[in-house]
Amino acid sequence: MTSERASVATAFAMNSVGEACTDMKREYDQCFNRWFAEKFLKGDGSGDPCTDLFKRYQQCVQKAIKEKEIPIEGLEFMGHGKEKPENSS
């Protein structure tokens, strides 16, 4: 029963642009969705518990974007220009 539920959960999960990043992405998404629903939408936007997971996931994705030559450099986000993806904190 547990493996059945696990496979259903996996079937409804999304992939990452980098194949190696998918597990990290899903772990981060689970953490984020919980924080978003239980804290952020209820007015408590502080204390994001997912920062470590996000950093690890983000590093993997930036590497995949570079390898696949996806033209996402020079992006502006919240007023900051991003010229070197590997410099993201």
Binding site: F12, M14, N15, N33, L41, Y57
Partner: protein
């Protein structure tokens, strides 16, 4: 250039719709979205959550079309910037393609807000601006893409949805494009799949 806009009413409160919207992929009504990644995420000084996401879309185009377009890639990438304001109860999304911009640009804006007259309902407003480069084929492709968004939105709004939950629209406004989707050969149908319309092809999976 073509402009298209649409409105849709969900029979659920804003919080519920937003939680579903943040988790809308994978989505059986838009199987061409094959990857979603968060590139950046932060809360600004006004308490609004900003997210920058990269969506990977698989066209499923036949070889002839990719040869015409001069590309061996079948994946297109879209960047999406969203802002969620929990105090004002507003979620705004801006998306645009980052690949094939020498051929076409599809810019979309979606806004989710509480229904002004019915507090337990949510209104989604969508706008898309489509511009196709080049001559001759350009106007035809713009018309094709705009009518794809339009017919997909109609499909969504009349679809009963899953598990008995109906997401029937109370009101639909369409401006700018009004063509019905004609019957098309396979290669033209495949070309239509290149459009990513975050709001139009979704049936948000509203949790019980």
């Amino acid at each position: 250039m073509r402009i298209w806009s649409c409105e849709h009413v969900f029979g659920h409160p804003w919080d519920t719709v937003i939680k579903a919207a943040m988790r809308k992929y994978p989505n059986p009504m838009n199987p061409s979205v094959v990857g979603v990644d968060v590139l950046e995420r932060a809360v600004d000084g006004r308490g609004r959550l900003h997210s920058l996401r990269l969506l990977s879309t698989e066209w499923g185009l036949p070889g002839l079309v990719t040869a015409i377009l001069g590309t061996s890639r079948t994946l297109t990438y879209i960047k999406e910037h969203s802002v969620v304001d929990p105090a004002e109860k507003k979620m705004e999304l801006f998306s645009t393609n980052v690949t094939l911009r020498n051929l076409v640009s599809v810019n979309e804006r979606l806004v989710y807000a509480p229904h002004p007259e019915h507090p337990g309902k949510t209104v989604l407003t969508q706008e898309a601006v489509i511009s196709v480069e080049g001559t001759g084929l350009g106007r035809y492709l713009e018309s094709l893409m705009a009518s794809t968004i339009s017919s997909n939105a109609r499909k969504l709004l009349t679809n009963g949805g899953r598990g008995g939950r109906r997401r029937a629209a109370r009101r639909q406004a369409q401006k700018g494009v009004g063509e019905d989707a004609p019957a098309l050969p396979v290669w033209e149908r495949s070309l239509r799949l290149c459009l990513h319309c975050p709001g139009t092809r979704e049936a948000l999976r509203i949790p019980p």
